[in-house]
């Protein structure tokens, strides 16, 4: 089909131009009137053929983009469901299978695995490269703090600790208490209260609670280096991972 199109275009323009030239010859045109007629004919023919071809090319490009979008969406659903959530739910099943009176080191080990699966899935399935996921665990001590308790992705360990009594810490703990999430599309454009600019490599992040209705364990964050690495559409997937981690830890 492509070869036919490639041949058809010059043939169509040549044939139409030849028709104009033939018409000029038959009308005994010569000199500048012949040249003008032939040139105008060629230009108008090129326009008449070129505009539909341009529209056709645009349509083909849009169709290719639509196919790519459909492929990306399908791949992402499969990646989240098959490759992240299925092994995680299997693991949670193993945790809940443990008899309450025999729970001990094995459960702690399985919970550690669940945390590793959630962190790796959060950093790997959202699409953009070089994402980092972090888990900040809530401590029992006073003042209450959210401390780094694991990360996956870019080799930059999280350093921030959120402490009650500070503006940023209160904001994070309040977010956790209300089971709300936070999506910051660009930290330079709109950052959380108490945010200290500088010192952070990332430009965008998502933070979700790791909590059940009655217990809270911390917050799960995913951050990216570029604005656009994370979108609103990513928040739901991170929320599900946060909730499932809470279920795994809730023993």
């Amino acid at each position: 089909m492509e070869r036919f199109r490639a041949v058809a275009r010059p043939v169509a323009v040549s044939a139409a131009t030849a028709a104009w030239v033939l018409g000029a010859v038959l009308n005994n045109l010569s000199g500048w009137s012949f040249t003008l007629t032939a040139a105008t004919g060629a230009a108008l023919t090129a326009l008449a053929v070129g505009l539909p071809l341009h529209a056709e090319r645009r349509a083909r490009e849009r169709a290719r983009s639509a196919e790519q979008i459909a492929e990306d969406a399908g791949a992402r659903i499969q990646l989240v469901l098959n490759d992240a959530l299925e092994p995680l739910t299997y693991l949670i099943g193993r945790i809940t299978d443990q008899r309450r009176w025999t729970r001990g080191r094995e459960v702690v080990e399985l919970q550690g695995q669940a945390k590793a699966v959630v962190l790796s899935a959060a950093a790997e399935v959202l699409g953009a490269d070089r994402l980092r996921s972090c888990f900040f665990a809530v401590t029992d001590e006073r003042p209450v703090r959210l401390v780094p308790a694991g990360f996956h992705g870019r080799a930059e360990a999280p350093r921030t600790t959120f402490e009650a009594g500070t503006e940023l810490g209160d904001h994070a703990l309040d977010m956790l208490a209300r089971r709300e999430d936070l999506f910051c599309a660009d930290v330079r454009a709109a950052s959380p209260p108490g945010w200290e600019p500088g010192g952070h490599a990332y430009r965008t992040f998502v933070a979700v609670p790791v909590a059940t209705e009655s217990r809270q364990f911390g917050i799960l964050t995913v951050d990216g280096l570029q604005v656009g690495d994370l979108t609103d559409a990513d928040v739901a997937a991170v929320r599900v991972l946060g909730r499932l981690l809470a279920v795994a830890l809730n023993t």
């Binding site: 459909a70 492929e71 399908g74 499969q78 092994p87 790796s120």
Partner: protein, 56 residues
């Protein structure tokens, strides 16, 4: 008759072990396979002339 798919606990256990052993490679492989399968599905739908959802 529909064929049973081998996706039981043994498969999940092996998959989980692979994920925990090397998550970056696990997800890189998974991403590639997911894209290949999604491309096959899109092409199959296009070849079959299946209309987009919401279209007559």
């Amino acid at each position: 008759m529909a064929e049973p798919r081998s996706n039981g606990d043994d498969v999940q256990r092996a998959r989980l072990a692979r994920l925990l052993h090397d998550p970056a490679t696990y997800f890189a492989d998974a991403r590639r396979q997911a894209h290949e399968q999604a491309r096959r599905l899109v092409e199959a739908r296009l070849d079959a002339g299946v209309p987009s959802p919401g279209r007559p």
